[in-house]
């Protein structure tokens, strides 16, 4: 009788079927929403929304820039320009360092070659 007694379901037991159901629902909703978002109507709406948002962002940026200029403070554009110049200098330095390494290697190879020649020359002379 003890073996056949009904087992009270635990939270872990209840979770399995619920999880399965949630997974299925998630998949179906994803499919449905992907279909809806793959239409020209949605694309057009997205384009218009982005256009409006970008116009707002642009006007905000312009106003902030004018305000900063009126206070005689550097704007984001100024800082970015300095950053760009620094980046360009960094790139040039990096190229110079690479070139220096290459030349150094060449000199070392030449020196090693010259040394070997000299040694061979001495050997022949002796």
């Amino acid at each position: 009788m003890a073996e056949s007694a009904p087992r009270i379901p635990t939270p872990q037991d209840l979770l399995g079927p619920w999880r399965q159901m949630a997974e299925q629902a998630e998949q179906q909703w994803n499919q449905y929403l992907n279909q809806a978002m793959g239409t020209e109507a949605f694309a057009g709406m997205m384009g218009r929304y982005m256009e409006g948002y970008l116009a707002f962002q642009q006007s905000l940026a312009r106003n902030v820039e004018r305000y900063m200029q009126s206070l005689n403070l550097p704007t984001r554009t100024d800082i970015t320009a300095i950053g760009e110049r620094l980046a360009s200098m960094e790139a040039q330095l990096s190229a110079l360092a690479a070139e220096q390494r290459r030349l150094l290697k060449k000199v070392e190879a030449l020196e090693a070659g010259g040394g070997a020649k000299k040694a061979r020359g001495n050997g022949n002379g002796a």
Partner: protein, 382 residues
Amino acid sequence: MTAQRSAPLTPPDVFSGQLQQFQAELQRAMLQSMRTLEVLSARDEANVGKTPKDVLWKRGTAQLYRYRRTTADVYPVPLLMVHSLVSKPYILDLIPGNSFIEYLVGQGIDVYLIDWGTPRPEDKSLTLESYALDMIPEVVGVVLEESEASEFSLFGYCMGGLLALLYAGTHPEAPLRNLITLATPVDFSQMGLQNFWSQELSMDVDRLVDVYGNIPPELIQQSFRMLKPASEFSPVRYINLWQNVMNDRFVEQYRAFDQWTNDHIPFPGECFRQTTIELARGNKLVKGTLELGGRRVDLKAIRCSFLAVAAESDHIVQLPATQMQPDLVGSDDKELVVMPGGHVGLAAGRKAVQTLWPKVAAWLGERSQTAPAGAARRGGRR
């Protein structure tokens, strides 16, 4: 005892045992719930990117790492890993014990990684040329010099794979021994909704780049999330966490993954414009008409050993967008491996750890034994 068993049990006897078990289960469920809340509200950073490394090269925000050897013998052909431009590279070195890089280093591969860093506003003018024709070739020089190798292998994940292909397709003379791409898009017409949203109707790319400079990470993250919108509100991932929350290893991994998926970086503006117009809209890579800095990207000129890995259920780079890579390259030794799972799982998922990493390491090992030019000098693993 026999006498006890033969005595008929009354309903209160039966249910008191069950009730006790139920109470214990309930208590455990409460503990799990509390721990789940704790994990979800944790603010400290996950223990990511910890494989020991040294910085060899820096330029702007980009850095080249060399991972420290852990084996006595190392293959003579070094591996250079190139990461994507929209995410951070620690997905390849997630947490100790679940890190692709740590695994490769442990297999005797001399691993280097280019970390592009987080682009700053002044990096908005970086283009595909900046990466494929300028920085990658410079880094390749450093790798060859540091490892004293005459050849190297290249690996790219997601858009990093695309950069690797662009480099290889414009540098047929490079001493490239092996090329591996992981979840790399090439046929952009097969990118589903992402391609559809990249068209003129949905996006004025010029306006977007002109206004923002670099594309904000939130926008990129949102576009990925919109591919599976219902999953954002689904309780499934929380159920997963709840069920495994008492397993510290699982929690550590969950937190690292969760951190990475929310850790996008700005996309350099000009590069985004170029990718949208030339690749997403023009699909020029597949058509063979893509030009970078006046050089045509010729994938047929890629003759080295080639391995493309794709994920069956990748919703970001869908299988049709990536699976034709072997047909595009000119290599004789080429292979496509399709793994079960999704985009992120391919880099650090459970299946990747068990099957993909050993596969990649073995494939690479076989092809990194000796460099033909220096075979006599090096003679296999050193």
